[in-house]
Assembly symmetry: C2
Homo-oligomer: 394 residues x 2
């Protein structure tokens, strides 16, 4: 276990979090009962976590000097996003900072090409893929993968950004040319019909102990997760297979902390999409919906403390994200109305409202999915000021 000092005069941060968005914010909340001192590295003073943190360093996570200075007083450093540049990770490693997850794991999480190669080597179910070097590869790629094709930037994408579906030959060629000429590494994948999207979280301690959360359904619209339903309404066989996949990836990646695996169901079979090595939007339901939330669990893992139970606290848990509406209204204004709906747990992130931006989420624990979904949707709709699609599973 990590040697953590604690005296009333010792103000050393137990945990440093690079990034100060909602994931850091909810991690801070989870750190309070554990008596942890957490420092966040925030780019802006009004970042969601910076607003509520007692210990904030303002600076860019892209500047090695800033990250090093931030980390100096931390027993362990973790991340609320994967987009920390390799040069910053290398500087931290060279300085002997305890990074969890490690720089190697972070590099895998940052690189969809490397993920595909690792998953293929592990024999995991993935779509056929090709690494694309330039426009000269187009004929070969189309011949081997067919059309339409999925093209992905190997790095930097999230919430649907960095992923394109191209159909016509000209469109595929143009997209590949534009990306590779811009210096963006591209992975081409066979397009598969998606029947359902799923996610599963696994958490791993440095010594290798892992625990797995229930398999959940994630309902996506335009590449952004709108709803999470736990447990996923799928045959038990898929849940067992998903757990095995999650454990395999956790072990292979050497992750310490939470790792989320995004999956598709296609033709009734699982396909691994990508991973995230941090608390994940698909796991927010665990704050009320599991004995141990993903945020507490991540802290426990990076401190090498015993992991907690992932048992659900209710038969069904539904989380609906609150996205900024077209008028970019602050969801705080509608909070009393949302709270008038029985049993809703509202989480606001303190972020400046912008259309389509994730501003919060609502969770409902219930005995049946319909009741939970209805109430969570109604509250999220009030908060976002926009109608949530009644049939959002696209």
């Amino acid at each position: 276990m990590l040697a953590v000092m604690s005296t009333t005069t010792d103000r050393r941060a137990h945990v440093g979090i690079v990034g100060a968005g909602q994931l850091a914010r909810m991690s801070l909340q989870a750190a309070i009962p554990l008596g942890l001192r957490v420092r966040v590295l925030a780019e802006r003073a009004d970042d969601g976590a910076a607003l509520i943190a007692a210990d904030v360093v303002l600076g860019s996570p892209n500047d090695p000097a800033v990250v090093l200075a931030f980390a100096r007083d931390c027993d362990v450093v973790t991340f609320d996003h994967e987009l920390v540049p390799p040069r910053c990770l290398e500087a931290l490693v060279a300085a002997g900072v305890c990074l969890r997850p490690s720089a190697e794991t972070m590099r895998l999480a940052q690189d969809k090409r490397a993920q595909r190669q690792v998953f293929a080597a592990l024999g995991l179910p993935i779509p056929s893929f090709r690494v694309v070097s330039g426009a000269s590869d187009v004929d070969d790629v189309v011949a081997s993968l067919g059309r339409p094709l999925v093209l992905k930037a190997a790095r930097g994408g999230y919430d649907g950004r960095g992923v394109w579906v191209a159909d016509g030959y000209g469109a595929v060629r143009a997209r590949i040319r534009d990306l590779t000429e811009a210096g963006i590494e591209v992975v081409a994948e066979r397009w598969v019909p998606i029947e359902r999207e799923l996610a599963i979280m696994v958490v791993r301690r440095p010594g290798g102990q892992t625990v797995v959360y229930p398999l959940v359904e994630t309902v996506q619209v335009d590449g952004i997760c709108r709803e999470v339903i736990s447990p996923a309404p799928v045959p038990p066989g898929l849940a067992i297979e998903a757990e095995a996949i999650a454990r395999t990836i956790a072990e292979a990646s050497g992750v310490v902390g939470i790792l989320a695996v995004e999956l598709f169901v296609s033709g009734g079979r699982l396909i691994v999409n990508e991973i995230a090595t941090r608390p994940h939007n698909s796991g927010h339901y665990s704050i009320e919906g599991c004995v141990t939330s993903q945020f507490e669990q991540h802290l426990r893992a990076v401190l090498d403390w015993p992991l907690g139970a992932t048992t659900p606290t209710a038969p069904v848990v539904v989380t609906v994200n609150v996205l900024g509406g077209p008028d970019a209204r602050d969801p705080f204004a509608a909070l009393p109305d949302a709270l008038s709906i029985e049993g809703v747990h509202v989480h606001l992130y303190g972020k400046a409202p912008r259309p389509g931006r994730k501003l919060g989420h609502v969770t409902v624990c219930a005995n049946d999915a319909e009741s939970a979904r209805e109430r969570a949707r109604a509250a999220a709709e009030l908060l976002s000021g926009a109608a949530v699609p009644q049939e959002a599973n696209t």
Copy 2:
């Protein structure tokens, strides 16, 4: 509802909390998902809530100038203890600060004599009592109430301080003389055999809407609450009567926010002991054990927002307090060991360890009381570094 401004440039505090102990600390935790900005008034920089708050004012709650300056930027001011001097409350009222609960309610909560008089007027079950003016009242008091007697300082007591059981005539006389000569107002009460101690929380909005939490058992040792069991293992009739008592007191006191009623069972009947008008130690179980925690509920009430469901999340919830052991070890050191026990929720308050001081609590939700109690006690024992009495109901 309270008009609460919210723009990203508006740094006005929505809620100010006078006091920065563990109740303020857990209130801050509850405020994060609600997107609230909370300011705390802390006497010391290492108060439990001051350690984790983004907005702390250091100063004495006994100084009207300090309290006024603190309150200036708050939409509503509430309290994490009742010991705010009347002159401070009056200064806040005179300045037009929105106090919830009100100064009148706080005065009742501060004054055990006034409570006895109000409860008597409401026809609530209380022990026979007499207000004691001085040593000359001793014959009369003993004649009317018998011996042993319970003597209480009308103000300032908590965790068993300010309460004495006196038996011999000389002891009664000496205690009354000492107290009254020191200028302490004294209430004498008939001693009743206590079979069980209970507590019930009610929360009230300014307009009068109230909701009630389940009746719980509180296991006390030396006047300090050691364990809370929800629901209390008592006949349903007592729970119904307790709820009626709680609603009656909430209405009569005009409380806004949480009000806890401490009760005795004597001869199978309920007796009202005293009240607290703030989140209460007997309600910590509600963080995991009810749909809405007492801390979130108190914030919702003082903001005049819709109240939340108080439904239990499990058949039985047990909370065991972590008291400082004789060697005043920091419970943080034993946290990994405590977390290795299945399903325990540990809450540490960040306070400097001292023997007997409340340093944290442990909650377990379970299907049966024995399993919950066993695990919560084991974790609390590890954290406090001292054995928790196996039969603590004294």
